[in-house]
Amino acid sequence: MGFGQLPYDVAHLLGGAMLLLSFMLLYQRRVAAVVSVLAAQGAVLAAAAAWQGFVQGAPQLYLTALIAAVAKAGLIPFALRWMIRKLALARGVDPALGIGPSLVAGVGLVALAIMVTLPITTGAQALAREDLALALSVVLLGMLMMITRRNAILQVVGLMSLENGLVLAAVGVTGMPLVVELSTAALVMLVLVVAGVFTFQIRGRFDSLDTALLHPHRGEEG
């Protein structure tokens, strides 16, 4: 495998698509739209996993792809939407850091990710290296989203896209044992459940998902 070959181009294309979707997550102004972008990212992730399975001839990656497709592209967005509807959330995103600045910051993070990965992984296969750079960017962008959005749901979304980045990195590595994918997928579900529980509790307590409202309730006030 190497540059200019089909497997590489496709994998790279898919990774790039995920990165692009991460930027769209940052760009969106409406919660519903954010969720659908997350779903799209999950779908692309599934495709990427499947492609890697095909390239590496590793059947367990198909399973990963399946899980990703079902969970990330299907269940989670559905659950989130249901939650939004159930809790009748405000539609707006009200970012702590403006859309424009967060995009700029995102570009900076991508630059950092490439700077860190490209020069160093000379030993590893080019494929993994490229994917690693992309995955790293996706992860960083996910974190950026978590810290620039006030809404609890959006923070969960950030976490999800961060996990997408993880899986992307994981499938990029040839011969990664199945345990990781499985556990990742399982834990993503668990995380979602816990998150849901708390979102309901927060909602029930504070009639809002703006986590800033939690702040005054730190123990040891005054």
Binding site: L132, V139, L159, V179, V194, I202, L214, R218
Partner: protein, 483 residues
């Protein structure tokens, strides 16, 4: 027992089976007793590990580093269960939440065992994640605003942390992939062997993510924000197991990874990074202690301090450094959980966990008061308890090898000890402040409350100055395992 089902897994699944059982037990008393029973059984099982051969077995490993930690974990699990038997009755919990607590507790214990015993880094990661989620549930158990805030912060921060740790793990295996042939690229044993041949750049990248990821779990400054609030909410048992067990598991993970990355000569020295985090934790926590008004949060911050000290020990490395770090982890778990037991009893009696409301314990409840005095002295690292020994070794070793580190370290230690003495006197000495409920007749404290405290303190004492030969040999060996 058959090799394909080693004792290690039994240690994991026994508590989980117990959790499943507890899930269906409606009666509170029975549940608490069963909880104790399961904990006792798994403690005995853990004792059997002493007879096990050291080495890797599938996904698990048993060596001198994690053996004492496992034993300690199940011991504290047992004492915590015993303590909760008396304590939970006073907690205002509806049966459902109580059941949830017992289930989560046992799940946590199983995951803890797995996290300590895992050889496969992936498995270790999974275990720590499960333990985290279980403790998140326990933290949020009360459902008060403060509890929800703490739990949410815990969940978000550790969720991110764990994700970063996973990324680090993946990158690590990516680094090892080219050089391990057919072997498991995530096995710690394998990684230590091949690390020297890996690409240093990838190792660096992996270590950064693993350090930040597991460091968040270990509550190292500046990744600590979740810890004080998480340890201060939920049943007191949480404080005990969080500071006593989960932090150790996370720090042990960091240390094992450091051992791998450090095995390569050209990497950015991982010890230096760990040392920096450790010193930052010591200094920040030492000064933060002076601003605490909430007893449980005070001791949560002191957990950050002690994790920082242990990290410093592992950071300077060398047999002495590692020994100091390990000894500090063990001693801290014992002493800190003892103090939390005492604080919990006091909070129960006084109905508040503000230091101002707890004042004058020695006057109103002498037995509890003096037990707490002893415990806090032990936590403050005063002789003759284990933390004195470990801090002695740490400081002397630092002075011998990294003299310039002694300034921040000594400053932090001094400020922290002063803060603890200050709080100790506020809590235990003087007359009970106005507004505190008077001691209702004879002290209503029975052995489940005081017994664990003294047991822990006696063990900390032995660990400090009277370590039996075999244990001493094991600790020395443990220092070598990651050396």
């Amino acid at each position: 027992m058959p090799a394909e089902f080693p004792l290690a897994w039994a240690l994991v699944f026994l508590p989980w089976a117990g959790a499943a059982l507890l899930g269906f037990l409606p009666r509170e008393r029975v549940a608490a007793l069963v909880n104790i029973g399961v904990s006792a059984a798994s403690f005995l099982l853990a004792l059997l590990l002493l007879a096990e051969p050291v080495g890797v077995q599938g996904w698990t490993r048993l060596d001198a580093l994690n053996l004492p930690l496992v034993l300690l974990s199940f011991l504290i699990g047992l004492t915590t269960a015993v303590y909760s038997y008396g304590a939970l009755a006073a907690e205002t919990l509806d049966p459902l939440r109580l059941r949830a607590f017992h289930v989560a507790f046992q799940v946590f214990m199983g995951a803890q065992a797995l996290a300590l015993l895992a050889d496969n880094l992936g498995v270790m990661w999974v275990a720590i994640e499960i333990a985290t989620l279980a403790s998140v549930l326990m933290v949020g158990l009360h459902g008060t605003p403060a509890a929800i805030e703490a739990a949410w912060k815990f969940f978000i921060l550790c969720g991110v942390g764990i994700a970063l740790a996973l990324l680090g793990t993946i990158i690590l295996s990516l680094a090892a992939r080219p050089v391990v042939g057919e072997e498991d690229a995530l096995s710690w044993a394998v990684l230590r062997e091949v690390a020297a041949r890996c690409d240093p750049g990838v190792l660096n990248l992996a270590f950064v993510f693993l350090l930040v990821g597991y460091g968040t779990k270990a509550g190292l400054v500046p990744l600590h924000a979740w810890l004080p609030d998480a340890e201060a909410e939920g049943p007191i048992a949480i404080s005990a197991v969080l500071s006593g067990l989960l932090l150790n598991a996370a720090l042990q993970a960091v240390v094992r990874v450091k051992a791998v990355v450090g095995a390569h000569p050209e990497t950015v020295p991982p010890g230096a990074l760990l040392l920096a985090f450790g010193l930052a934790s010591v200094l920040v926590a030492a000064f933060a202690l002076w601003r605490r008004r909430d007893a449980r949060r005070f001791f949560a911050w002191s957990s950050i301090l002690h994790m920082g000290l242990a990290a410093t020990g592992f950071g300077i490395g060398g047999p002495a450094g590692h020994l100091a770090g390990l000894l500090h982890m063990l001693g801290h778990s014992l002493a800190k959980s003892a103090v939390f037991f005492g604080i919990g009893a006091a909070v129960r009696l006084r109905g508040s966990q503000r230091i101002a409301d707890l004042g004058g314990l020695c006057a109103s409840y002498p037995a509890l008061g003096w037990a707490l005095v002893t415990g806090i002295l032990a936590v403050a690292g005063l002789p003759p308890f284990a933390l004195f020994a470990s801090e002695f070794l740490l400081v002397t070793e630092v002075a011998a090898t990294h003299p310039w580190v002694i300034l921040p370290l000594g400053l932090g230690l001094l400020v922290a000890v002063a803060a603890k003495i200050h709080t100790l006197q506020l809590l235990c000495f003087g007359d009970p402040g106005p507004g505190t409920p008077p001691a209702a007749g004879p002290e209503k404290l029975h052995w489940p409350s005081l017994g664990p405290i003294w047991l822990h303190l006696v063990l900390a004492l032995l660990l400090g100055v009277a370590l039996p030969g075999p244990l001493r040999a094991m600790l020395g060996e443990a220092a070598g395992v990651v050396g």
